[in-house]
């Protein structure tokens, strides 16, 4: 039967509830009744809202306001130039009192830039210009732009800018609305759907027009009968044969994009690919409602529903919360903490992360605040027994035990080859592992290691190119200088011949310098005789200027200096001929110097011409460099800024 069903067109396929399934997954105790016993209410307007400048995946906004500015509700207060971005709007009216770093809700617990808004209690809206029913006549690009300007991001967890997702790279035939809400405890999508089913259906119409897609499937788990009824009513009141409602069995993590697409359409998003690759765009149902509010009311994304739940809270409930509201105020609105509390978690029990304290704001991505009754005891981890339980539940069809092995041994390439980056961090493997191995943590760690390594490689490549171009430039300059000096030397030789009779002392100085240089040069050249000139790769110093040129340069410099000394006042600074490290060789010397400073200081009294020679051994190099520095220190005292 199944076989025939699969071959029918999409339209008839989706008429049946789930014709497909995904691998693995878990049926979990859902704890959802907890937060559904109290009605949806609006959280009170807090005296201060703290709005982190980073609200969406992959981008920080720049403030458009200054401390002291008064703002109106819905006024844009931060934006980024990044096309993949979403601006931030003032959630209420009031005065900007701070723009500084504060701790934000993030697994790192680190501070980041935030705008703090002291509310004035009036909640006065800025002028709004809703698109209204005109949306059906507007070009897709205008709608997309409006969605970007409205600061809409995905409310299903990842907070990816929605306008970008609605600019697909492939033709889309199916829009999937994710009303699954598969994580235990969380009920905000369920409650939202019960209250705003009509608005959601209108929101779907907006999205279908924008995408030019012929079909939409709303996927919802069978543990939300009230929400299902609401949607059925809404569809009956306003029939739309493009939209199908598909009820799926409750099984975590059917709300994860790739698994949901498989579950509803049978299509498999390729490894590393996007839903658009298989003609699908998937949006969370809360995101659809936010788009409706933006288009029909002109409301940017400044609030969301948040589930405040867990056995550690007195009256769990769903609240409509302004972005930036501190968590402690929401807990108070729900009757405060129970006697015994364990951990404070943002998100659900499977995917969420712990928070250090409750003085943190709600951000666009916060769907749930969970207070557990007790801190879980740390169960002693024991070695993997290769039971395969993790593999059986892995919805991404990975081999978690194998990935653990590669993560532990740092075999990044193998981990990548075994599709580590397909892991959705759902935690199923963790949950079932009898050895209590924190598997997901290993994968997160390894993923960030690999990413950092790749970033470092990219940075190194840039540094290499910049180094090469600088070296080339320097070599060209050195060559030029050398040519100039050679010319000068010729002239000088001529001159000295002419002055032969009266230049006794000068001549002596020059001759002495030349003799020293020659000696040194001979010493350097001697071991090189055995090395054929045609094998430059065997010489480690080959990237430095060739020895002859270096020696030549040194000779020239010595000569010039000798001449100067003879001609000018003896007070002339000896470092004039030994400027700051310029060539690659000198740079190495400068570095070597740091290590061998002490050693070098002793030899700092050697002949002044030595430092002009291309240093050969590490010791020599270090000595030369240290000396340069010593001299410079002395001289800069006399010389002052040049």
């Amino acid at each position: 039967m199944n076989f025939f069903r699969r071959r029918k067109s999409l339209n008839t396929q989706i008429a049946h509830d789930t014709a497909w399934s995904f691998h693995g997954g878990l049926v979990l105790p859902d704890h959802k009744a907890l937060s559904k016993q109290h009605p949806l209410k609006k959280a009170a307007l807090p005296p201060q809202l703290v709005i982190p400048l980073q609200q969406q995946a992959g981008g920080v906004n720049t403030p458009l306001v200054e401390v002291g500015d008064t703002v109106l509700k819905g006024q844009k207060i931060a934006d980024s130039k990044n096309p993949v971005g979403a601006p931030i709007h003032a959630p209420s009216s009031g005065k900007i009192v701070a723009i500084d770093e504060r701790t934000i809700p993030h697994p790192s617990g680190l501070p980041a830039a935030c705008i703090t808004l002291a509310t004035d209690g009036k909640d006065t809206w800025a002028d709004r210009a809703p698109i209204g029913n005109r949306y059906s006549e507007l070009p897709a690009e205008t709608l997309r732009q409006a969605i970007r300007e409205g600061g809409i991001v995905g409310l299903g967890g990842a907070a990816f800018p929605t306008a970008t997702k609605l600019t697909p790279t492939h033709p889309i035939d199916t829009l999937i609305i994710n009303a699954i809400e598969c994580e235990p405890y969380i009920t905000c999508d369920d409650i939202l759907t019960q209250h705003f089913a009509n608005e959601i259906i209108r929101g779907i119409d907006i999205l279908l027009r924008l995408l030019g897609a012929p079909h939409c499937i709303i996927g919802i788990e069978d543990n939300k009968p009230d929400a299902i009824t609401s949607l059925q009513h809404a569809l009956k009141a306003k029939p739309d044969d493009r939209i199908k409602l598909t009820v799926v069995p409750t099984r975590y993590p059917s709300g994860s994009e790739k698994q949901l697409i498989k579950l509803l359409t049978g299509r498999e998003v390729p490894s590393g690919g996007l839903p658009a690759n298989v003609g699908v765009v998937c949006q969370n149902i809360g995101t659809v409602y936010a788009i409706h509010q933006l288009v029909m009311q002109g409301n940017p994304l400044i609030s969301r529903l948040v589930t405040i739940t867990g056995e550690g809270v007195r009256n769990p409930a769903n609240l409509e919360v302004l972005i930036g509201t501190p968590i402690h105020q929401l807990i108070e609105a729900c009757g405060g903490y129970q006697e015994n509390t364990g951990q404070l978690i943002m998100g659900g029990p499977m995917m969420g992360f712990t928070l250090e304290h409750d003085q943190l704001p709600i951000v666009k991505a916060s769907n749930c605040i969970l207070v557990t009754p007790k801190t879980p005891e740390i169960k002693q981890e024991i070695p993997c027994i290769r039971c395969g339980a993790c593999e059986a539940v892995c919805p991404a069809q990975l081999q978690p035990q194998q990935l653990l092995w590669y993560s532990r041994s740092g075999e990044h390439e193998k981990a990548k080859k075994h599709n580590l980056f397909d892991c959705i961090e759902c935690g199923c493997c963790d949950y079932v592992c009898p050895s209590h191995i924190p598997l997901v943590q290993h994968y997160r760690y390894t993923k960030s290691e690999i990413k950092t390594r790749e970033q470092e490689m990219a940075a190194a490549e840039i540094a290499k190119q910049r180094f090469e171009s600088k070296t080339k430039r320097e070599e060209a300059l050195a060559q030029e200088k050398e040519d100039r000096l050679a010319k000068k030397r010729q002239q000088l030789e001529k001159k000295t011949k002419e002055q032969h009779t009266d230049g006794g002392t000068k001549q002596d100085a020059i001759q002495a310098a030349l003799a020293r240089v020659k000696k040194k040069k001979d010493a350097q050249d001697a071991p090189k005789v055995t090395e054929p000139a045609s094998e430059p790769a065997t010489n480690p110093t080959d990237d430095t200027p060739t020895p002859q040129t270096a020696a030549e340069r040194a000779a020239a410099a010595a000569k010039r200096r000798a001449e100067k000394k003879a001609q000018q006042s003896p007070a002339t600074n000896p470092t004039d001929d030994a400027p700051a490290p310029k060539t690659a060789a000198e740079r190495a010397a400068a570095a070597a110097k740091r290590r061998a400073e002490k050693k070098a200081q002793q030899s700092a009294s050697t002949n002044p011409t030595d430092d002009a020679l291309a240093p050969k051994t590490a010791a020599e190099r270090a000595a030369a460099a240290a000396k340069r520095r010593a001299e410079k220190r002395q001289s800069s005292a006399h010389r002052g800024p040049s």
Binding site: T354, E381, I462
Partner: protein, 188 residues
């Protein structure tokens, strides 16, 4: 007989020419092993290895003139990668070359800078911007943290600032017992 010898000679000549041509035509530019080593080195260009840059050090390793443990910025991971590439044993970093330090970037105190350009000349990757007698700035993204600009500065206005960890650069920690309570699923 003569013909056979002649043919063989002709063939030998022909193949000889062909090989000679191929040797010129398909000559491998540069030194592939050195290239591979160079790709592993961090390109900080700091000279701590005792060579004037990463490339010369790479060539020295390729020629068996240098050990694989002379690059402090590459750290232990770098030594491991080199050992794997060259099929050698992993050895600890040579302390004489320096120690592993957290990544830092140079920062110029712009009120003290006299615009002498000495640091610009010292920077191996052109990461310092400025003109004579105008204050200079470091392009933080391009700075490799090599510290070569520190000694030439006559007014000591350059300091190395450790790169601050932000929410954007933060990495998940290596799993251990202290992190376990936070990471395991919270469903009991």
């Amino acid at each position: 007989m003569v013909i056979a010898v002649a043919i063989l000679c002709a063939l030998a000549l022909a193949f000889g020419l062909l090989l000679g041509y191929a040797a010129i035509r398909f000559k491998v530019e540069g030194n592939p092993i050195a290239d591979q080593i160079d790709n592993i080195l961090p390109q900080t260009q700091c000279g701590q290895c005792g060579y004037p840059g990463c490339r010369p050090y790479a060539e020295a390793i390729a020629n068996g003139e240098a050990e694989i443990n002379q690059c402090p910025p590459g750290g232990e991971a770098g030594i491991q990668a080199l050992a794997a590439l060259l099929d050698r044993e992993v050895i600890p970093l040579n302390a004489e070359n320096g120690e592993v330090k957290p990544k830092a970037v140079a920062v110029i105190d712009e009120s003290t800078c006299i615009g002498c350009t000495l640091c610009i000349q010292a920077c191996p990757v052109d990461a310092i911007l400025g003109a004579a007698k105008q204050m200079h700035t470091v392009i933080a993204d391009e700075c490799t943290g090599c510290e070569l600009c520190l000694p030439p500065c006559p007014v000591d206005c350059i300091t190395m600032e450790p790169v601050k960890q932000t929410v954007m650069t933060w990495k998940w920690p290596k799993p251990d017992h202290s992190t376990q309570a936070k990471s395991k699923t919270h469903l009991n």
